[in-house]
């Protein structure tokens, strides 16, 4: 994490990859103990990763990282349970409409992050997609979208922050 904060992208990526299975196990356990389907687990994992990334400056580099990670994972888990809980409270009338539209099945399968990615401004969406899904480096994405590297960096960062904000605001 220290290397990641110092800007070593490779090291940081390996750390996040190593954390993912742990986060996934924690998310599954949390959802199961709340009596919810673990199809939401991956959404919780992605949301937690986004929070770890966007809030990484809030980790004190001299403190052990375990409590910090646990606190973030717990916060995101509680957040999700609260939101999903609220969604269950939706009156039956609303469900009837959705069911009549015949779209309830596919939207349930689309991950939250994907759904919100569609709502981002075009510039941010293209950059996030190029880097994440197509695996382009900052330089490649800049060349492909004919932007400067700096602009790509800014769009990527804003796009990720906007994604997290949208995930957060959902259901309120």
């Amino acid at each position: 994490m220290r290397a990641g904060n110092a800007g070593d992208a490779d090291c940081y990526r390996r750390l996040l990859l190593q954390l993912t299975p742990v986060l996934r196990a924690v998310a599954r356990r949390g959802l199961a103990s709340a009596g919810m389907a673990d199809t939401d687990a991956e959404d919780v994992v992605q949301e937690t990763l986004l929070a770890i990334h966007l809030k990484r400056q809030s980790w004190d580099e001299d403190a052990p990282i375990g409590p910090w990670l646990r606190a973030i994972a717990r916060h995101k888990m509680i957040d999700t349970l609260r939101r999903r809980g609220r969604r269950i409270d939706v009156p039956l009338d609303d469900f009837a409409e959705v069911l009549a539209g015949g779209e309830s099945e596919p939207t349930m399968l689309v991950a939250d992050v994907d759904r919100h990615l569609e709502c981002l401004p075009a510039g941010q969406r293209k950059v996030v997609r190029a880097v994440a899904v197509d695996g382009a480096s900052i330089g490649e994405a800049a060349a492909r979208l004919s932007m400067t590297k700096g602009a790509v960096r800014v769009a990527l960062h804003r796009g990720l922050a906007a994604l997290a904000a949208k995930l957060n605001g959902e259901g309120t």
Binding site: L16, E42, L54, S58
Partner: protein, 212 residues
């Protein structure tokens, strides 16, 4: 989007840095406190003969109480944005301030005849105190909340209340150099109420704008 894809995007974004919570707080407070100071001197000003009165125990006690509250709550705010940080000890330290206040009240009750207690408590400008402390606290409160947004407070409303306590204490310390009521009885009633108002506003604002 697969989780691996997301991680790739996060790693590519690792060069953009935000300020750590402590630095963000200091940076935000500079304009925040400058605005409060500006308003203080523009609208209120120091009370006459402030510096010759500094030896007066009641005034000194008032200044020390507000200053220690500001310092301790400031230390709390700089930590409350760090998930997993131990804030229990900070909160306990903060309890020193009400303990000191209680001691000051007891001393005052012993020093002043009972017939005068009521007049000391009401003072000469209680309503003005209630209005002015929140007024001066507005800019520091906004600054502290903006700084906390950089962090990740686990309990947004609580963090907002801490920010309000901090802003209220800064403001009360400034106001204390203007206010002619020095009795600990007055401070305990009206300063506490005014700071409480700011803390409540901070809690409401925090529960809305500090979620992450």
């Amino acid at each position: 989007m697969k989780t691996g894809d997301l991680i790739r995007a996060l790693a590519a974004d690792s060069e953009v840095h935000a300020m750590p919570p402590g630095g963000a707080l200091v940076l935000a407070l500079i304009p925040g406190v400058a605005i409060a100071l500006g308003l203080h001197f523009a609208v209120l000003g120091l009370r006459p003969h402030l510096f010759t009165l500094l030896g007066e125990p009641r005034l000194l006690c008032k200044l020390c109480l507000t200053f220690s509250l500001a310092a301790l709550s400031g230390a709390l705010v700089s930590r409350i944005g760090r998930p997993g940080a131990d804030i229990g000890r900070m909160t306990l330290l903060l309890a020193i301030v009400p303990a000191l206040l209680v001691a000051a009240i007891l001393a005052e009750l012993l020093a002043v005849p009972a017939a005068e207690w009521g007049q000391r408590l009401i003072g000469s400008n209680a309503m003005f105190c209630l209005k002015t402390i929140p007024f001066l606290a507005a800019a520091p409160l906004v600054a502290a909340l903006l700084a906390l947004r950089q962090g990740a407070p686990e309990h947004p409303a609580l963090a907002g209340a801490a920010a309000g306590l901090f802003a209220g204490a800064i403001s009360a310390h400034l106001y204390a150099t203007h206010c002619p009521d020095d009795s600990p009885l007055f401070v305990a009633a009206w300063y506490t109420l005014a700071i409480g108002i700011v803390a409540a506003v901070g809690a409401v604002a925090g529960s809305r704008c500090l979620r992450w």
